[in-house]
């Protein structure tokens, strides 16, 4: 219903009520002995017409108010809520989709529910102008449009999906921008943006950090690092940690107000790589930060097949390395298998390998198309920024010869001072990854320098896992551009957007995600909320001067309910006073 229609109906209802009030009803007939005395009384009473007029005026006003309140309750025009009146022109409504918006309020709903309700009021009060709807995580989700149904439908399907970018989405041509937020995540914003706060303080306990890191010494392969915050009154927090469904920790923690507790738990090699932490506490307004996930990728060693005639140096390299399970075969015996990575030692097949491969000084007759140019004593001056080269110290490395290759799929990531490529990676997005080191143990002191285990470790990690399995935060996330598919915990594919040099997607829920590279490599990684800013529901960056939405505590109920209650109370009052002839 358009606003003018709603207001017309309200005016009609009020006018009808006034007409009915003034309409004379058939009075009750009472037979009395004589009108003598009544005549005297009524004649005297006519002198008190001022009081009578006041009574009638009060009754008329109450009747009209009842009609108006009932009309407002039924029609619910947005302009009836004074604080929701929006300006004419294009209106942009930006919803803060931070996880903290899922915090429960005293009224029974969530901050998000209040934000949605407020957005509906703003949209309804837009006076027919265009409306654009955006969230901090998704950017523009609907509009600009003047079709309220589209905005309503978009509001129905929106859910919090993390804080998103720090800057608010910009809506071109917006005459007024409303930002509905709880202020948990501080954001720089323009002075012209009208902030509407849905903040309501709440006690909460949450997991503010959770991941797995390699053990430094000790007998365990890794350790889970856990951080729990209690943002509210002192309470007992029940912590459980399980690995593949097997509980490895069960503790009750007495935590004080504002206390942050850190815990590490050693993880044995082998076993299930999925690790899950969960807390329970009585004062806990936010559920999404009660569970955290981590993927222990070092639980299973990387399966490596080494193909070469003289792999003794690699045997020595992998000996005692529990993270690598190496198998050594000669070129004649090599058959492509299910290994994670193949290392070709100074040999390469005619065609590109079907599995991710690390090549050391491949021969010229391979698919790599060796160039005839060979640089003698190339000088590796600077380490590159590629993950394969991270931590590699080139200064201890002495190279006698380096070969160049002409395959168009190869991209050099490290070069000599003369420009001869020293390390390549392939840039094919839909094929298996490859790393080519243009010199071998015979061409350098590679076997005896610290750079070898670092370079080999990096290369194996990059080849076997297309993505770093370090836990990520939920929300908008950036990935390498080689990632072609991302699967959410429920099995649904996460929509990915290709940007220059990266792929972005929104990780909408905590859990385990599977990323697949173009070459068939898969990486599982965990996504957690794990943010003290989210878990601490007792603070807000929204200033006190900023408008609070009408909902809050008991006021979370819609405004029209108050209109209906007011009408009911007015009817009762009018009836009660009419019975006593206080009003007419």
């Amino acid at each position: 219903m358009a606003a003018w229609q709603a207001w017309g109906l309200l005016a009609g209802a009020t006018g009808l009520a006034a007409y009915l009030f003034l309409l004379k009803v058939r009075p009750r007939r009472i037979r009395i002995p004589s009108l003598l005395l009544w005549g005297r009384v009524l004649d005297d009473k006519r002198e008190l017409t001022l009081w009578e007029r006041i009574r009638r005026a009060v009754s008329l006003v109450i009747t009209a108010a009842i009609a108006l309140a009932l009309g407002l309750a039924f029609l619910r025009p947005a302009r009836a809520a004074g604080t929701t009146e929006t300006s004419r022109g294009r209106v942009a409504i930006v919803l803060d989709s931070s996880w903290s918006m899922l915090a429960r309020t005293r009224g029974g709903g969530t901050r998000w529910d209040r934000a949605i309700a407020d957005a509906r009021r703003l949209a309804a009060g837009s006076s027919g102008g265009e409306i654009a709807l955006a969230t901090t995580a998704d950017g523009l989700v609907e509009g600009p449009t003047n079709d309220l149904a589209l905005i309503e439908a978009a509001l129905d399907r929106l859910t919090p999906a993390g804080p998103g970018a720090a800057a608010l989405p910009r809506i071109a041509g917006a005459d007024s921008v409303y930002f509905i937020t709880d202020g948990a995540t501080a954001r720089p914003r323009d002075e012209t943006i009208l902030v509407r706060s849905v903040y309501e303080s709440a006690a909460n306990a949450g997991i503010t950090a959770f991941d797995i890191r390699p053990s430094i010494g000790g007998t365990t392969a890794g350790e889970a690092y856990l951080e729990i915050g209690n943002f509210g009154p002192a309470q007992t927090v029940h912590l459980t940690l399980d690995r593949g469904g097997v509980q490895v920790l069960d503790r009750r923690l007495d935590m004080g107000d504002g206390e942050i507790l850190r815990q590490t738990v050693g993880l044995e090699r082998g076993g299930d790589p999925s690790v899950r932490a969960r807390i329970e506490a009585p004062g806990n307004a936010l559920a999404i930060d009660d569970e955290a996930f981590a993927w222990f990728d070092r639980a299973r060693p990387v399966a490596v097949t080494v193909v070469g005639q003289q792999p003794a140096w690699l045997v020595r390299l992998f000996a005692g390395n529990h993270d690598v399970n190496a198998t050594f075969v000669s070129p004649d015996a090599y058959r492509p298998g299910k290994e994670d990575v193949v290392i070709f030692d100074r040999w390469a097949p005619k065609d590109p390998a079907e599995r991710p491969a690390l090549y050391f000084a491949p021969p010229a007759d391979s698919w790599l198309l060796a160039d005839t140019a060979v640089e003698q004593k190339p000088h590796w001056q600077t380490a590159g920024t590629h993950p394969v080269l991270r931590g590699v110290d080139p200064f201890t490395l002495t190279i006698e010869r380096a070969h160049a290759y002409k395959s168009p799929e190869l991209v050099p990531i490290a070069q000599s001072a003369a420009g001869t490529p020293l390390v390549y990676v392939n840039r094919a997005k839909d094929g298996p990854r490859a790393v080519v080191v243009t010199f071998g143990p015979a061409d350098s002191n590679l076997t005896s320098v610290p750079a070898l285990p670092v370079l080999a470790g990096n290369a194996l990690a990059w080849l076997s896992r297309p993505l770093d399995s370090t836990a990520r935060r939920a929300g908008l996330a950036s990935f390498e551009e080689s990632i072609v598919k991302l699967t959410a915990p429920g099995g649904a594919a996460v929509p990915l957007s290709r940007l220059p040099g990266e792929t972005v997607g929104v990780l909408r829920a905590p859990g385990f995600y599977v990323a697949e590279g173009g070459g068939g490599g898969r990486t599982t990684f965990a996504v957690n909320v794990s943010d003290p800013e989210v878990s601490n529901l007792a603070r807000t960056s929204a200033g006190a001067a900023e408008a609070s939405t009408p909902a809050g505590g008991p006021g979370q109920r819609p405004w029209w309910l108050y209109c209906a209650v007011a009408a009911f109370v007015a009817i009762l009052t009018e009836w009660w006073t009419w019975l006593r002839r206080i009003t007419v």
């Binding site: 009803v25 009075p27 009750r28 007939r29 009472i30 037979r31 009395i32 002995p33 004589s34 009108l35 003598l36 005395l37 009544w38 005549g39 005297r40 009384v41 009524l42 005297d44 009473k45 009419w578 019975l579 006593r580 002839r581 206080i582 007419v584």
Partner: protein
């Protein structure tokens, strides 16, 4: 409605007597003192004997003392003319009021009949409607009952015109009892003054019911006058109800005050009071019966 009283109540009534504050000459011998001198029991005076006087009334003892023939005079005791004027207008149509008015009339009649008073029963509304004299003796009370039972209340009230009509006929002056609610649009003063001016001892019995004082209505009401059928709309509020109650009390007080100023008797007979209590206590306290 049956007006038959119980024997026990009738016995109580027999001990009562209608009190008139003045002495009136009656028509027949009875036990009421009159201004006349005659053949009563009570000695009144002596006078000089004249020819033709009854020798039996010569006071021979006085003749012996003063040597003159003196005649003994006695007070004449006659009946008292009592006029019971009953309001049968529409305003008395309420059963409780009309029944009480007729019961009072019947009781007064019985008291009068016991004492051989000369009773005349009259009814009025717009004017005098009915007049009858049941005769003398308690046996006539049943005629009174029959008469009263047949009465119906209807029509407008005009007390002045009715009493003017009453006064216009030649009749002995006596005690006039008016049983009415005195709700006369023309006012009660003029009529009562007429009675007073022709020398009657007037006694007003004001019959009232709770419905007179409080109509029991709140809200928009259309009042219908029981006498004239005239209607009047009013929005009755508690304040208005209180004002009406005050107006009614003023009306009753004015009537009582008027009666007091003009030497008339006044008794209020409320329907919520038991009838016997009204007759045996209220009328006695009002010095109407003794």
């Amino acid at each position: 409605m049956s007006l038959r009283f119980q024997d026990q109540f009738l016995k109580k009534l027999e001990y009562l007597q209608v009190v008139s504050r003045r002495e009136f000459a009656g028509r027949n011998r009875a036990d009421r003192r009159t201004p006349k001198k005659g053949r009563g029991i009570e000695f009144a005076d002596h006078r000089q004997y004249a020819r033709g006087d009854d020798f039996r009334h010569i006071d021979w003892k006085a003749y012996k003392r003063v040597n003159r023939l003196l005649l003994r005079l006695f007070e004449e005791e006659q009946d008292l003319p009592i006029y019971l004027i009953l309001d049968v207008s529409g305003s008395m149509a309420e059963a409780a009021k009309f029944d009480l008015a007729r019961q009072i009339a019947a009781a007064l009649c019985y008291v009068g009949l016991v004492h051989l008073d000369h009773l005349t029963i009259l009814t009025f509304s717009r004017g005098l409607a009915h007049e009858s004299s049941p005769g003398r003796g308690t046996g006539r009370i049943f005629r009174v009952f029959d008469l009263l039972e047949k009465l119906e209340a209807a029509g407008p009230t005009d007390l002045r015109e009715s009493l003017k009509e009453f006064a216009s006929r030649s009749r002995p002056v006596g005690l006039t009892v008016i049983i009415s609610d005195f709700l006369d649009p023309g006012g009660f003063e003029a009529g009562l003054k007429i009675l007073r001016s022709i020398g009657h001892d007037v006694f007003a019995i004001h019959v009232a019911s709770p419905a007179d004082r409080d109509p029991g209505a709140i809200g928009d009401v259309r009042f219908v006058d029981a006498e004239t059928g005239e209607v009047r709309d009013a929005d009755v509020t508690p304040r208005l109800v209180a004002a009406y109650a005050r107006a009614w009390e003023t009306h009753a007080t004015e009537l009582q005050g008027f009666c007091g100023r003009y030497g008339m008797g006044y008794v209020r007979a409320d329907t919520e009071r038991p009838f016997e209590e009204i007759v045996l206590q209220a009328f006695r306290q009002g010095r109407f019966l003794e």
